[in-house]
Symmetry: C2
């Protein structure tokens, strides 16, 4: 796996929510971020602007100035309104291409389909990686049922509740406990963080479960610090009663063939983001996810990872206690209170690998 040195392009937006891909890569990425391009904060460091990221990379005004920090790749770190590439970004991307930086983009616009940029990259001898574009994937085959590592999948009450972050924090806790654990990325930010993966939501529906399976097989193929992987933590997507995204949720639920599930919920949310559909209760969510898994390969919900970012400390602790009271399961906010207590509580519940149901012929 290539180790990249990223120059992050986020003009005018690095401090905003629209740069969450950049923030995720800085907080959790395996690749280094050597500098950020944002004229609004030029002269400061990342830590000056966003202390919680604990990163001392400098912020510069232009790609040209960022080149001094010897980056190997330009990360398009924000998602502009409407998905189209703003003209002033194009000049910066062209500059990066001419400096032979790899271009890494999570935009809806596929940069490699832009003939001018593609030709320029070819001429410069560098490449464009559109992380949203999935490779051709086969149908689900059942091979994921045979991996030796235990597979833990984060499932949610909705999209954008913290399933990726919970998965990353659980991997960190497992590694701190000397478990050979690997994060399995299934969405654009996760892919940029880990440097591999497939955006399952962009796969043709018939092959989405096959793509999830392929990620699990890839996850066990390489060692974790010289050891055979013991635990894969798969980043979930969407929510099982999300009117638009539930098919992606189900593709991961069957395709990644989990042995156990962690339910992730934003404690302040009551309806599906963007729709009026009410969120299911903890017990409804657990019953629905376990019933579906139980129809192919059983997996139980072993804990609840709460996102309490919008609550004060007392309300956060009350929400966590309530989740346990309603379900009898360990619950915690793995960002606010760290992942170790929660990991230690759920680890014994992950238990043995489950087997798929099979017809005895």
């Amino acid at each position: 796996m290539t180790v990249r040195r990223y120059l992050v392009l986020a003009p005018g937006a690095f401090a905003s929510r629209s740069a969450k891909t950049a923030h995720g890569v800085i907080a959790y990425g395996t690749d280094a971020v050597v500098a950020v391009v944002d004229p609004l904060h030029a002269g400061k460091t990342v830590r000056d602007v966003l202390p919680y990221l604990a990163c001392d990379a400098p912020i510069v005004a232009t790609v040209a100035l960022g080149i001094a920090y010897a980056p190997t790749a330009l990360l398009i770190g924000t998602a502009p309104q409407g998905g189209a590439l703003p003209p002033e970004w194009r000049a910066e991307i062209e500059h990066a291409i001419d400096a032979r930086l790899e271009i890494v983009s999570g935009l809806h616009d596929i940069l490699a389909d832009d003939r001018a940029l593609a030709a320029r990259a070819e001429a410069a001898g560098t490449s464009i990686w559109d992380v949203r574009v999935p490779p051709p994937t086969p149908l689900f085959s059942g091979a994921a049922w045979d991996v030796d590592a235990r597979v833990l999948l984060t499932v949610g009450s909705d999209c954008a509740v913290g399933k990726m972050t919970a998965a990353l924090e659980l991997v960190r806790a497992a590694r701190d406990r000397s478990v050979a654990a690997r994060f399995v990325p299934t969405g654009q930010t996760g892919i940029m963080i880990a440097g591999w993966g497939i955006a399952i939501d962009r796969v043709i529906a018939d092959f989405a479960a096959g793509a999830a399976e392929r990620l699990v097989l890839e996850g066990v193929r390489r060692d974790v610090d010289g050891r055979e992987p013991e635990l894969l933590v798969v980043e979930g997507q969407g929510g099982i009663n999300h009117p638009a995204y539930a098919p992606v949720t189900l593709a991961l639920l069957y395709g990644s063939a989990p042995d156990a599930l962690v339910l992730v919920h934003n404690a302040a949310r009551t309806a599906i983001d963007g729709y009026d559909t009410p969120l299911l209760s903890y017990r409804e969510l657990i019953r629905t996810y376990e019933m579906l898994c139980g129809s192919v390969k059983p997996a139980k919900v072993v804990g609840i990872a709460l996102n309490t970012v919008s609550l004060d400390d007392a309300a956060a602790r009350a929400a966590i206690a309530d989740a346990t009271a309603q379900t009898g399961l360990p619950a915690d906010d793995v960002v606010r209170y760290g992942p170790h207590r929660f990991y230690d509580a759920i680890a014994p519940r992950i238990g043995e690998k489950t087997r798929p149901h099979t017809v005895i012929v």
Copy 2:
């Protein structure tokens, strides 16, 4: 909607199962089939070879001979092994293009991506319709929740059990009862039969529910014999515990926003086709489908359409009685015994339109 006059290309294969697309179009299509190309049966009629299709179209040896019957389109009526276009078919397709026939194909190979064929079609002033290629579709919006027509979706215990056929037969029965009913096609054969539709399984996973919604909106846009559509019967896909195809099933379950479901099952099957995963029982299937619908917009299973083609008459009747005994629901084989009795039994159960759950703000 164009009315086509089809010349069906099925060389050496018209009588085989691999020509099931052609058989479906002949049995249920709104377009006419004027002749079939299959040198193996040249000189006979469709009825001579497959009496149940009750069709007197002639079978000829070549496309050149078929042109005499004034077709407007060539239907690629079989799926060759491996999906690649056999060289001897290419010459026949070229002949049809030169005769200015529209080329209608359900092959995995996208014919419009074949530069030589595409250029030839353009030069001849005709077009290629690859029915598997979906149009760009938006995200699910909730607009399908607001249509006035009742929406009935066929859901299955597995793929290839008869969901399309059950939907077509129910539309026929409803029309015989003077209900303005329309079949909503979601797979390649259904699309060729109806002359419109989207192959949901080929849509990018994030947009699959949106594609199902768009079909419902299209289904109510045009009148049915001068009347506003009262009933849409949506062709289901896959099965909810199908390890590979369930995401497509769920996209239709949420995206088509049904008011009621008909469960379709092949009475002789015990495991998911191609996998060892056991089929769910009737009660498990009903509980799972109703629980999922109930989390977004409620819909009940109102009847069970059994496919008893592999059973003798006594066994078929016993299977039907057993389905009713296990579930308390009307059950029948709508092909073997006709759709009217079953339609009359379920019609009162379709009842009123259901409303989606909404959060009261």
